[in-house]
């Protein structure tokens, strides 16, 4: 007679070291094996979409910082792209380059957080995180130099960027780029070939190509599954068509691929940055002439870009007034966790944590 067992339920979160924010997973366990998982979200819901309806177009930019607070620049940019598309604005050349530079620095920073905490979830006791924070702090310094804050930048404006680059910026970013490849090699040396890491992450949490496309995954999660889809390449926004870079993809879509695709993307970002630094015009306006209470024509627009976490998009409906009639934020990480249950069922609790970590979620964006 088989022994009758019943699953036992474990709440991982809302307060848990590895949920990367206030996120709750209701997990059904059979021993240590996960048999069911239900993400419960909304603990950080601030209603940014509703708030934007009562604010002018410019006033919403600081709120976009607070979506994915680890990649605020790209959120700013995606929102500004949407409004510019709506208003048919032309962005000055220099501003376009500044935008690209900051998107790519932001991508490096965000990927370093993602990889560092993925490795921390694996149990590597903060060491990779601190090594990566060393470089991230340098990036934060550069952001602080340009826009005055280290986390919530509020730098992009409708029609450009808020301020010109200070004189110290270019030497700093050049030095950073010269150092960065050496540090990336160090990160790879630290754990990329580590047998324990390979054992823990290879073949774990596979997101197949068809599932990845079906759930509309984007960013490194989609590319790790072997889909060569990068909006920078496939639908270039800003001036990305001028840069030469590759889109790294994985083969199987397991945790290791998601980690490795991010490491490769950091290298590609360095490559884009080197080109952008070489091409940027010395002088020129950094913002188009946009009134403070900007009134775009009636209509709707969807501005989107390839953020560090994936395709972040803003869908704006305008009724011709100073405030958007409707603002919808398309959150990539919420979409990426759609297939979480497919990925984790049958794996152990320890795997659940790293699979969730490898998706790289930020709760500010999921809950909005």
């Amino acid at each position: 007679m088989p022994i009758k067992t019943e699953p036992f339920y474990l709440n991982i979160g809302p307060q848990h070291p590895s949920t990367h924010g206030v996120f709750r997973l209701r997990v059904a366990l059979d021993g240590e094996v996960v048999v069911g998982v239900e993400p419960i979200i909304g603990y950080l819901h601030r209603g940014i979409e509703k708030l934007a309806e009562t604010r002018t177009y410019t006033q919403t930019i600081p709120f976009t910082d607070r979506l994915d607070y680890l990649s605020s620049m790209t959120n700013n940019l995606a929102y500004c792209l949407a409004v510019e598309k709506l208003g048919g604005l032309k962005v000055p050349e220099r501003a376009e380059y500044i935008r690209v530079i900051f998107s790519e620095i932001m991508r490096i920073s965000s990927h370093m957080m993602a990889v560092g905490f993925f490795l921390n979830d694996l149990g590597a006791m903060m060491t990779p995180v601190l090594y990566m924070w060393r470089e991230r702090e340098k990036i934060m310094d550069m952001f602080e130099m340009v826009c005055g804050q280290r986390l919530l930048y509020n730098y992009m404006r409708i029609g450009g960027v808020s301020q010109n680059l200070p004189d110290d910026f270019m030497p700093a970013v050049k030095k950073f780029l010269a150092e960065m490849p050496k540090y990336i090699d160090e990160y790879d040396q630290l754990l990329a070939q580590n047998e324990i890491l390979l054992a823990r992450s290879k073949g774990v949490g596979i997101l197949s190509k068809d599932t990845a496309i079906g759930i509309g995954a984007s960013g490194p999660v989609l590319r790790a599954s072997g889909v060569k889809w990068d909006i920078r390449k496939m639908d270039p926004y800003s001036i990305y068509e001028r840069f030469d870079f590759e889109v790294p993809t994985g083969d199987t879509g397991d945790c290791y691929d998601r980690y490795w695709v991010r490491m490769l993307e950091i290298r590609q970002s360095v490559r884009i940055l080197e080109q952008a630094i070489a091409q940027i015009p010395e002088k020129g306006a950094v913002c188009a002439d946009v009134p403070q209470f900007f009134r775009p024509p009636r209509g709707e627009a969807y501005g989107y870009l390839e953020g560090p976490k994936g395709n972040i998009g803003f869908y704006i409906v305008s009724d011709g007034s100073i405030a958007p009639y409707r603002l919808h934020i398309y959150p990539p990480t919420l979409i990426n966790i759609t297939a979480l249950s497919d990925m984790v069922i049958g794996w152990k609790v320890a795997d659940l944590i790293i699979i969730f970590g490898s998706i790289d979620v930020v709760l500010g964006e999921i809950d909005r």
Binding site: R55, T56, T58, Q59, T60, I61, P62, F63, D65, T127, L130, Y131, W133, R134, E137, K138, D141, M142, E144, M145, V146, C147, G148, Q149, L152, N154, S162, Q163, P166, D168, A172, K175, F176, E179, E186, Q189, L190, L191, A192, Q193, N194, E195, I196, L197, L198, A199, Q292
Partner: protein
């Protein structure tokens, strides 16, 4: 775990951490050592220039939080006198939009970043607290005219030989106690 590579990956990682043992720490002993912030820092306060302010309330209109309280009355001639100018720094998100929108450069972001208070009421910055003074100076955020007066930001990117911040670990005896204020 297959030791196909006989643990070479583990050995490499261990060698890297061992190398780091001989590098100097990257952390700063915060209240004792402080880095110089950016010239454009958006600190946790705002600086108001009463003589430049015309009381037009553009800042209040541009605030996403609706956080700036300003009330005026008509003084001598056509000039407006500001009666109340209040910003609740507990609700302020320090986005700097008010500074950007001010047509007369009468408002600037502050330099301070240690503004913790024991009571919420203390966070409300009144006219007197906002007004510019010797130890309440503006930062160069959106105000490039102040940029030259401020010290250069210390970047972690540069080491000491390259003109960066001196990042030496101070022994206990040389540290100043309670210098953070």
């Amino acid at each position: 775990m297959k030791f196909e590579r006989y643990g070479i990956g583990i050995a490499k990682g261990m060698a890297l951490t061992f190398r780091h043992l001989f590098r100097s720490p990257i952390t700063i002993q915060y209240p004792d050592e402080k880095l110089v912030t950016s010239r454009r820092i958006r600190g946790n306060e705002l600086v108001w220039f009463p003589e430049k302010c015309t009381g037009c309330a553009t800042c209040a209109k541009s605030c996403p939080q609706g956080n700036i309280v300003i009330s005026t009355h008509r003084g001598e001639g056509s000039k407006f006198e500001v009666d109340i100018f209040e910003i609740d720094s507990g609700r302020c998100i320090f986005c700097g939009l008010c500074v950007e929108s001010c047509p007369y450069d009468a408002l600037a972001m502050g330099l301070s970043y240690e503004c913790a208070k024991y009571r919420r009421g203390d966070l409300i910055l009144s006219k007197e607290k906002l007004a510019v003074s010797a130890n309440h100076q503006p930062s160069a955020y959106y105000r490039p005219q102040f940029e030259d007066k401020l010290p250069k930001q210390s970047l972690l990117l540069y080491n000491q030989a390259e003109g960066g911040q001196k990042l030496k670990f101070l022994p206990l005896s040389k540290r100043k106690r309670g210098s953070g204020a």
